[in-house]
Structure formats: structure tokens, C-alpha cells
């Protein structure tokens, strides 16, 4: 096990509420790629090392220029109490990061980088953004070994799924924001839960795009300045807690713009099999930490919509990986199938309305009416699923 992974783990334990701005799946993916290459027919060359020392002054990468290919970033906090994280970014997308690096700690992450200009970002430093140049033409990095046909199909279909979900997100959000701009409280309330579902199905993907996730989906605890708070939950508070939509039109406009930005970004997105597996796990983590407790949708109590959407998104990943997984580990595939069914059955008890009404999106009871012992049953089922699901990534790389 790589010791450097631990700061990240501890950060997540200490801050269970805080939403990771970065999709950990991206990091995992990069590592996956390398592991796959190492065992492949064409041995990969060793990673080029880049050292970064975190200090109050910054996080200068050394060397500042490396050839395309695998790059291992070694980060050490040399004694700064205020600069404790470093990210590698390209065009605003976080590719890898180390956080909660308190003084004396060191860690690393490894990525395969194409030629181009990257930034190293260390929030809190006197100079917080540094440049890393990767030489070699874009796309010149040695390609990963071709995944098997099942997995190649899975990743392509996952791309299509993400695009389709975000398309629905854009249109449903528009319906929601139109109601907000029109001051139609009832319509806006009715659309809040359903519109979010197409975000919650693909949230780990959205999370990989830097600030987009907080802009769209931050909760009040996630923002430093409540005056700068935007997105779904800001409007949720207006609808259910403030009981007025006054001042919400600009927030609605920005939400539309943000989901459209997401749409543009996912159009060109590509995925690795491990990203699907880890993304599915990530969705279950979402449920375990913030949906079961009712803190995600604390004003509207529409948590069960998110819950369903997270499960749907995870299940999509699983279904796409299932042929490859079944070939490799049929017992695990079977166990996951059964446990997905348990969760889906558990959730079905809370659907309301007729089947005809449910033709579009199913509707769910107010989560505040679900008693503690029933929430516990949902949590138990999700945790029972999450444990074997966490083993899938290791089977598909």
C-alpha cells in the first residue's frame, strides 16, 4: 500500500460533510493506467519524478519541465501550516491532488501526462499557481494497452450515458429555473427534486471539473461566504426556508449557465473502466454520508430523489462493467446484482403516486417522514452493497 494515499483518506474521515471538489476517480484512473501498463506486453518506462515542496511561499515544481509520459509528483510539506494541499490542473480540470498535508508529511501521486502546459495550484501560498511544462506533442504519451472489447464498449456507452443525463439535466433545470424566475413557488418546488436527479446520477464526473460542482451543488456548509453561495441548494433554501424567491433570478441564470458548461465539458469526456467502478463507489459514499442523514436536502427533504439517482448512476456503471466483471469474477457480479436489488426494493417502499404518474420520474415521500429505524435499514442495505462494489475496480483493470 502506498502511504501517500493516507492523507487523502484521513481528510475524508475528518470532513465527511465537506464535498470533495475533486473527483478522486481521476486520480485512481491515472494510477490504473500505469498499473495496467506495467503488466502489459510493452513495459512502460519509469515515471519522471517531479518534486514539490509546500511552503508559505508556494509549491514550485522541480524540474519545471518534463517529457510526456508517466510523471510521479512527490510532495512534501516542509513546514507550512497554511499551505497543505497541491493540485495539478489542466484547463481548469483537476487531474490529481494531495490534500491535508500537514507539516512534515509527504505523499505522491502519479499521472500520465500528454505534452502541454499544466498548472500546479497550492491554495493559501504567497504564489499559489505555478507552471509545469510537459514536452512532446499532445497525445504523444505512450498509449495505455488496449482494454478488452467488453471494457472498451463499456466506457463508450458510459460516455453516452453521461451525455444523455446531462442533456436531461439542462432541460429539467431550465424548467426549474423558469419557474424560479417567474416567481412560481409551487412549480419550482415540484421541479426541485426531479431536476437534480440527472445531476446526482453523474455527480462524480461533474466533480472532476474544478469549481463546477460547488457552483451547482454546494450546501451552505461548503461555502466560505454565504453571499457567494449559488446553485440548487441556494434556491432550495429560498423556496423552503426563506419562503421567497426574491433575488433568485441571477442564481437561476447562473445555474443554467453552469449546467450548460457541464454539458460542453462532458461532450468530449472519455473514461477508463476503473473510473466507472470508482465512480459507482463514490455515488454510494454520497448516499452513506449525506443522503441517509438527510443533510443534503435539508430544506426540501427531497433526499430520496438523490438517493435513487445515486443508485441509478452506480447501477449504470455496474451494468456496463458486468460482462467484463462476470468473465473475471462471476461470484462478485452475482453478489452485486443481489445487493443492488435489495437497495432498489428498499427504496421502492417510499415511491408515491400512480404508475402512470411515475411514467416520467418516480416521486418520493418527504424524507423527514421516514423514521430513524427505516433510515437505518436503507443505510444497512447501501453499506452492504458498497463493500463488494469497492472491489470492482481491482477486477476491471
Amino acid at each position: 500500500m502506498n502511504a501517500s494515499r493516507n492523507p487523502r483518506i484521513s481528510a475524508r474521515i475528518v470532513r465527511p460533510v465537506a464535498r470533495p471538489v475533486v473527483g478522486p476517480i481521476v486520480i485512481a484512473c491515472a494510477a490504473t493506467l500505469l498499473a495496467g501498463c506495467g503488466g502489459g506486453a510493452q513495459p512502460d518506462r519509469p515515471a519522471t519524478e517531479v518534486k514539490m515542496g509546500l511552503s508559505d511561499a508556494g509549491c514550485e515544481p522541480s524540474p519545471a519541465s518534463v517529457p510526456a509520459g508517466p510523471v510521479k509528483f512527490e510532495i512534501t510539506n516542509t513546514g507550512s501550516a497554511k499551505v497543505t494541499e497541491a493540485e495539478l490542473q489542466k484547463d481548469g480540470k483537476i487531474l490529481g491532488e494531495k490534500e491535508s498535508m500537514t507539516p512534515g508529511l509527504s505523499g505522491d501521486f502519479t499521472l500520465r501526462l500528454d505534452g502541454g502546459t499544466y498548472s500546479v495550484y497550492c491554495p493559501g501560498a504567497a504564489k499559489d499557481t505555478w507552471t509545469l511544462t510537459v514536452t512532446g506533442a499532445p497525445g504523444q504519451a505512450p498509449p495505455a494497452p488496449a482494454p478488452d472489447a467488453n471494457l472498451a464498449a463499456a466506457t463508450q456507452r458510459y460516455h453516452d450515458y453521461v451525455v444523455s443525463e446531462v442533456d436531461k439535466l439542462v432541460s429539467d433545470t431550465k424548467e426549474f429555473t423558469d419557474a424560479v424566475r417567474a416567481g412560481d413557488m409551487a412549480k419550482a418546488k415540484a421541479m426541485f427534486g426531479p431536476a437534480r436527479t440527472h445531476y446526482e446520477t453523474v455527480e462524480p464526473v461533474a466533480e472532476s471539473f474544478g469549481d463546477l460542482d460547488p457552483d451547482i451543488d454546494a450546501r451552505i456548509d461548503d461555502v466560505r461566504d454565504p453571499g457567494q453561495w449559488t446553485g440548487f441548494h441556494r434556491i432550495e433554501k429560498a423556496l423552503w426556508a426563506d419562503n421567497t424567491l426574491a433575488g433568485m433570478a441571477p442564481v437561476a441564470d447562473k445555474l443554467d449557465a453552469d449546467v450548460n458548461t457541464l454539458k460542453a465539458k462532458v461532450a468530449t469526456g472519455t473514461y477508463q473502466p476503473a473510473e466507472l467502478a470508482n465512480g459507482a463507489s463514490e455515488l454510494l459514499t454520497e448516499i452513506s454520508t449525506s443522503k441517509v442523514t438527510g443533510e443534503e436536502d435539508r430544506y426540501s427533504h427531497t433526499d430520496l430523489y438523490d438517493f435513487q439517482a445515486n443508485i441509478d448512476g452506480a447501477r449504470e456503471c455496474f451494468e456496463l462493467l458486468k460482462p467484463a466483471l462476470t468473465a473475471k469474477n462471476p461470484e462478485l457480479a452475482q453478489q452485486l446484482e443481489a445487493r443492488f436489488t435489495d437497495v432498489v426494493d428498499g427504496l421502492a417502499k417510499y415511491k408515491v403516486g400512480s404508475a402512470a404518474q411515475a411514467g416520467g420520474n418516480p416521486r418520493y415521500v418527504d424524507y423527514s417522514t421516514v423514521p430513524e429505524d427505516q433510515r437505518r435499514k436503507l443505510a444497512d442495505a447501501v453499506n452492504a452493497l458498497a463493500e463488494p462494489l469497492s472491489k470492482v475496480a481491482g477486477q476491471v483493470v
Binding site: 500500500m1 493516507n6 500537514t102 458498497a386 463493500e387 469497492s390
Partner: protein, 414 residues
């Protein structure tokens, strides 16, 4: 936290892939220091295999992590699979090795949660017991239920919280280090996910009994020595008579086993601390400082229950705890006590400490506890200061023989 983890992680790096071997090495290194502190025969590793489960007559370790589980699967084979996995994991952890499996793949969560890497085995024992509810219709175990094994009846002096009582399976992990004990329960809970859910859990600190004449009798949170006359591990005749299930027990799977009674006994320590010393000593029947019975001079003097004071009243009062609990006054009846102090923060209703004794006792027949508690719960002077708030009864099967078997195999097979 991160700084504290640093050295552990680097130690792990040192051990590298040969984790099992490396940890055994670390255990050896730790032996000298810890062994002398505990004076523990057998050193740092308590053998997992044997005729009896470890953790019953084992010299009582300093710390406890206890958990009760409800079985959620309806498939008997899932339950058996889990018990196999648990047995292998418990055996490994007892040696100080990580949970078996891959802990180094970057693509998977490590098989072991990792927090005890680099720590000595700390005399970890992991003991399993099955609750009466496991013998209902779900797994067809009804015919395997020993006749003496039924739910405890309602007993005087208890107001039980269902959320802290019962359970289909219990795991008692004891170790000289709290992290090691907790790690064992945490990892079993994780391995069991989907087959069982944790119903309740309890951490204990400060053992309140000794099971060896080598160990000094510790004190409970009331400041008294309450385990002076416990059964010792070398007293095999008494163990055979009162603790171990008979070698010819009708249910073969219980042979060499024992019944575990757990009671969460809340102490009202604030009011106790306001009680005058003379009354505290009268309640226990012992001197607080020396631990001697009120009729004796030193801790191990046998109490003289017949002795009268100048006022003509018994020196050890009628309601004194040691009088009511003494085997002389209960037809010789004895149980093996193995309890721990606990605290779980503040009682929000009263602002008082939620603290007390997590009582654990092992016995041949649950009726032994019922007899004693029926008497104590009705008459004990201590009742003013305590209340039983949680309860569990579990049948701990005999030990796992070396090689190939799993906890409770005799219950599910044969």
C-alpha cells in the same frame, strides 16, 4: 492526527509486501517492554486455536471492544461463509498479522483497515458467541439449541434499552491496546457487511477482574476491588464445574464452550461519590483502601459472614454486595467474571456521566447468572447506585482446532 500517523506509515513502508512476516518481527521487538509490564505468561500472542476459545480464561487484558450483530441474510450458506472469513481474519489478527487479502493494490480498498500496522499483537483475543435469536426458524438451528439456552428472564434492577441488548452474534475482542481491540471488531464488522449489521457496540477500559493469581485485583469505577474472589485460570476443577460446558453436553458444538452474559450496568457515580466512606464500605462489605473484607485485614482474607459487631449486627451487613454474591451463600455457585469499566460521555437528560461497568461473565449454564442476579437485583445495597441498562446472552462454542475449521462449525455441520 496526520503527524501521529507518520511513523506508523513509515514502519509499514519498511515492512513492505511481506506484511505478515514483518509484523511478527515487530511483535517480537515489542515483547520485552510489554511482557514485563503485564507479567503475562505466553507473551504477546495468545494462541487462537485450542479446546476452548481464547478470551475466557486468558489473563484479562486491559481493553475491550465488544459488538453484537444481527444477521440480515436469510441464506445459511452466507452465514457460514462469513464465519469462515471471520475465523481466518481473527486468527490472523491475533498473531498481529493484517486481515488476509490484498492490501497493496492501488485499485482496491486494502483488505486490512491498517490502523494497527506496526503495533504488537497486544495479547489480542477474539471470542464469538451466538444469541438465542439465532436459533429461530431462519437457519434451521432450532434443534441445535441447548435446552438451558433461552432468553434471560426479566430480572429485578433492570431497565433495558433494546438498542443496547440482544443480538444474533456477539464478538468480544480483548487486548492490551485499545486500538488493537477496536481494530478487530471493526474489521469483522466490515467483513460481515451484507450478512450482518452491527446492533450495538461497547468499548471498555480498565479491566475490573483478574482471572489469574499473577494479576493484581483491579478496581471498578466506584473505587472498590470487586473481583477478588473470581475463578482463576489454574483452578481447573472449578472451571470444569462452573464455567465450561460439559465434555458430554448433548449439543456437541457446545462442548468446551461457555455461556457469556453481558450486562451494561450504569453507575450513578456522582451520587456514589457523595456517599460517606463508611456507607460505601458497608455497601460492598469491603474496606475501600485495602480491599479487605470488613471482617479481615488483607484483601484475600476470607470474609466471615457470621461475625457480629458489638452492636450485635453482622459486621458484613445483610445487604452487602459480597455477602449476597458469595458462593458460600449461594450453594457454592460461581461464575467467571471478566468485566470492564466503560464511559460513553454525558447523559443528556441529567448532565451526569454515562459510565459504569460493562459486566461480562462466563458460566456453564445461564441459570447461574439468573440465580445470582435475582438475588442481587432484589436486595443488594448497591442497587441504589446502579441500574442494568443493557443485556446480552450468548453461547460461545468450543475452541477452533488447528487447521481447517471455523467458529461454530459443529453448529452448522455434523
Amino acid at each position: 492526527m496526520p503527524t501521529a500517523r507518520g511513523p506508523v506509515l513509515s514502519r509499514r513502508g519498511l515492512l513492505g509486501g511481506a506484511a505478515g512476516l514483518g509484523i511478527v518481527g515487530a511483535a517480537g521487538a515489542g515483547l520485552a517492554g510489554c511482557g514485563s509490564r503485564h507479567g503475562a505468561p505466553g507473551g504477546q500472542v495468545v494462541p487462537f486455536h485450542g479446546a476452548h476459545q481464547a478470551g475466557i480464561v486468558t489473563d484479562v487484558q486491559d481493553r475491550l471492544a465488544f459488538a453484537a450483530f444481527d444477521v440480515t441474510t436469510t441464506r445459511r450458506e452466507d452465514l457460514v461463509d462469513m464465519l469462515r472469513t471471520w475465523t481466518a481474519a481473527a486468527e490472523a489478527m491475533t498473531r498481529g498479522a493484517p486481515v488476509p487479502g490484498d492490501s497493496s493494490s492501488a485499485e482496491m480498498p486494502p483488505a486490512d483497515t491498517g490502523e494497527t500496522v506496526g503495533m504488537p499483537p497486544s495479547r489480542l483475543t477474539v471470542t464469538i458467541g451466538f444469541g438465542p435469536s439465532l436459533f429461530d426458524q431462519r437457519f434451521g438451528l432450532g434443534p441445535r439449541r441447548p435446552t438451558e439456552f433461552a432468553d434471560l428472564p426479566a430480572l429485578p434492577g433492570e431497565i433495558l434499552d433494546p438498542a443496547r441488548s440482544g443480538g444474533d452474534i456477539a464478538v468480544q475482542a480483548c487486548a492490551d491496546d485499545p486500538a488493537v481491540a477496536f481494530h478487530a471488531v471493526r474489521n469483522l464488522a466490515r467483513l460481515g457487511r451484507g450478512t450482518v449489521v452491527t446492533r450495538w457496540a461497547q468499548l471498555g477500559f480498565g479491566r475490573t477482574s483478574s482471572t489469574s493469581s499473577d494479576q493484581e485485583t483491579p478496581r471498578n469505577l466506584m473505587g472498590f476491588k470487586d473481583g477478588t474472589r473470581n475463578i482463576h485460570s489454574d483452578d481447573t476443577a472449578t472451571l470444569d464445574r462452573y464455567v465450561w460446558a460439559d465434555v458430554a453436553a448433548p449439543q456437541a458444538w457446545m462442548r468446551g464452550g461457555s455461556y457469556l452474559v453481558a450486562r451494561r450496568i450504569r453507575m450513578f457515580i456522582e451520587t456514589w461519590d457523595r456517599d460517606r466512606l463508611g456507607d460505601q464500605e458497608a455497601v460492598f462489605g469491603r474496606a475501600k483502601a485495602s480491599g479487605a473484607p470488613l471482617t479481615g485485614k488483607t484483601e484475600f482474607d476470607p470474609p466471615d459472614f457470621a461475625a457480629l459487631g458489638r452492636d450485635g449486627e453482622p459486621v458484613i451487613p445483610e445487604k452487602a454486595h459480597i455477602r449476597l454474591a458469595a458462593f458460600e451463600n449461594n450453594g457454592g455457585l460461581r461464575i467467571l467474571r471478566r468485566g470492564y469499566s466503560y464511559t460513553d460521555g454525558i447523559d443528556p437528560r441529567t448532565g451526569t456521566l454515562d459510565a459504569g461497568l460493562f459486566f461480562i461473565a462466563f458460566m456453564k449454564d445461564p441459570a447461574q447468572f439468573v440465580t445470582l442476579q435475582t438475588k442481587l437485583g432484589s436486595h443488594d445495597g448497591l442497587n441504589e447506585y446502579i441500574r442494568h441498562v443493557g443485556s446480552g446472552l450468548f453461547a460461545c462454542p468450543g475452541g477452533v482446532a488447528d487447521g481447517g475449521t471455523y467458529w461454530g462449525q459443529g453448529l452448522f455441520e455434523g
